[in-house]
């Protein structure tokens, strides 16, 4: 099963004016192109207001396109084995950074905050997707004939979670490594949401440790030589933890959306209050003598 769209790696930005219509796939593919076109670096300079915007990974966009197209054919996303029969797929972005003081980088910690994952939904699958950049001029250092052996562990134990072998030839090309972390994620959810353990938890974080050896030997490779260095990555090149869940009961759209709107609005109001305070400070006395008129704009708009 392949994703339905080959989407250019440039970082797509959600554009307020963008419209992805549900009605026909063709139009939406054009509209998606619009999104990516609008995210063209030359256009980015006037999108400052979107700085810090959440940028969907290509994988999530491709999931949305594929399943919404299937829906039009009357097929449920949860029918697809690739979605592990989930009806909700959540992507958590890696918050870890490389310890640049230690060079070379032999181990990496990947951190994910999964606190928004509801315990009412059954976790039916989870995978860690790590983007391997093309090593570029580091190629000379890839002088090896054997396979690389990518291994993933929990941060606090040496129990191997998943491993993959990587051919040196493949290592010269960019690509995504997908590692199965379902077992650990399930155990974590079970442990974290257990009523007796809740007050012991320091935060609902999942931590993975990655290392790569030369074949089955213990010789650990400098991860940057394989394009796994994390500095200077765009949002879309960061690793994501993808959780596939299935809700047992039918989602009540409005209560869920209400909750989202409330959380967004409280963030918005904080920002607006800060902006208004800054404006008030700048305007100084002048603002006091001006009764009504433009200077009161922000407050009137809030009212």
């Amino acid at each position: 099963f392949q994703s339905a769209a080959i989407i250019s790696p440039s970082a797509p930005r959600r554009n307020r004016g963008a419209r992805i219509s549900h009605q026909d796939g063709q139009r939406s593919s054009k509209l998606l192109k619009d999104i990516f076109a609008s995210s063209h670096p030359a256009a980015a300079h006037h999108k400052d207001e979107l700085k810090g915007a959440i940028v969907p990974h290509e994988y999530m966009l491709s999931i949305y396109r594929t399943y919404s197209a299937a829906e039009k054919l009357g097929l449920n996303a949860s029918f697809f084995r690739s979605s592990k029969f989930a009806n909700t797929i959540t992507s958590f972005v890696d918050r870890g950074t490389d310890d640049l003081l230690h060079s070379p980088i032999r181990r990496q910690k990947y951190l994910f905050d999964v606190s928004t994952l509801s315990d009412k939904e059954e976790l039916v699958g989870a995978e860690l997707r790590i983007f391997r950049r093309a090593p570029g001029d580091l190629q000379t250092s890839l002088q090896t004939t054997g396979l690389y052996y990518i291994q993933l562990y929990p941060c606090r134990s040496d129990r191997l979670l998943d491993s993959r072998s990587l051919d040196p030839l493949d290592a010269t090309k960019a690509g995504w490594e997908v590692l199965d972390v379902w077992e650990m994620f399930k155990a974590h959810q079970h442990y974290y949401h257990h009523p007796h353990h809740h007050h012991f938890q320091k935060g609902n974080e999942l931590c993975f440790q990655l290392k790569v050896t030369l074949g089955k030997s213990d010789t650990e490779v400098d991860l940057r030589h394989l394009g796994l260095g994390r500095s200077g990555r765009s949002q879309q090149e960061k690793a994501i933890l993808v959780a596939y869940t299935r809700s047992k009961k039918r989602e009540n759209l409005f209560s869920e959306m209400n909750e989202k709107i409330k959380s967004r609005r409280s963030i918005g109001e904080k920002e607006e209050a800060a902006a208004a305070a800054a404006a008030a400070k700048d305007a100084g006395e002048e603002r006091v003598t001006h009764r009504g008129g433009k200077a009161d704009g922000p407050r009137r708009r809030r009212r």
Partner: protein, 120 residues
């Protein structure tokens, strides 16, 4: 004039259309939800509108109760209201959105699009 009336059209009085599916275009952007819904920004939800009058057509898939209520209403409109024209079959849509933790989520929301209308 009597002849032209035989087709059931009453002059001067707009006949209400029977229960059927009508267009309803939902625009999340206009609802102000586009700051957290990534896609779609709009979709066709449809809605059901029209009267459920006697006799009820089979495609409206009435329940037995709706048949009884419609019959009662047709005999004495003041005693019983007509049955209601509602969605009888709905389908889901996919939504890509940002959750309260700023994670991108794909979810399939059930019962978002009217496929069929009926009297209940």
């Amino acid at each position: 004039t009597a002849m032209s009336n035989r087709h059931g059209k009453r002059h001067g009085k707009k006949s209400k259309s029977r229960c059927s599916k009508k267009a309803l275009h939902v625009n999340f952007k206009e609802l102000g939800w586009d700051d957290w819904i990534i896609a779609p920004l709009d979709y066709e939800a449809y809605h059901c509108e029209g009267v459920c009058d006697f006799p009820l057509r089979s495609h409206l898939e009435p329940t037995n109760h709706a048949i009884i209520q419609t019959l009662m209403n047709s005999m004495d409109p003041n005693s019983t209201p007509p049955s209601c024209c509602v969605p009888t079959k709905l389908s889901p849509i996919s939504i890509l959105y940002i959750d309260s933790g700023n994670n991108v989520v794909y979810k399939q929301y059930e019962d978002m699009v009217v496929e069929q209308c009926g009297c209940r």
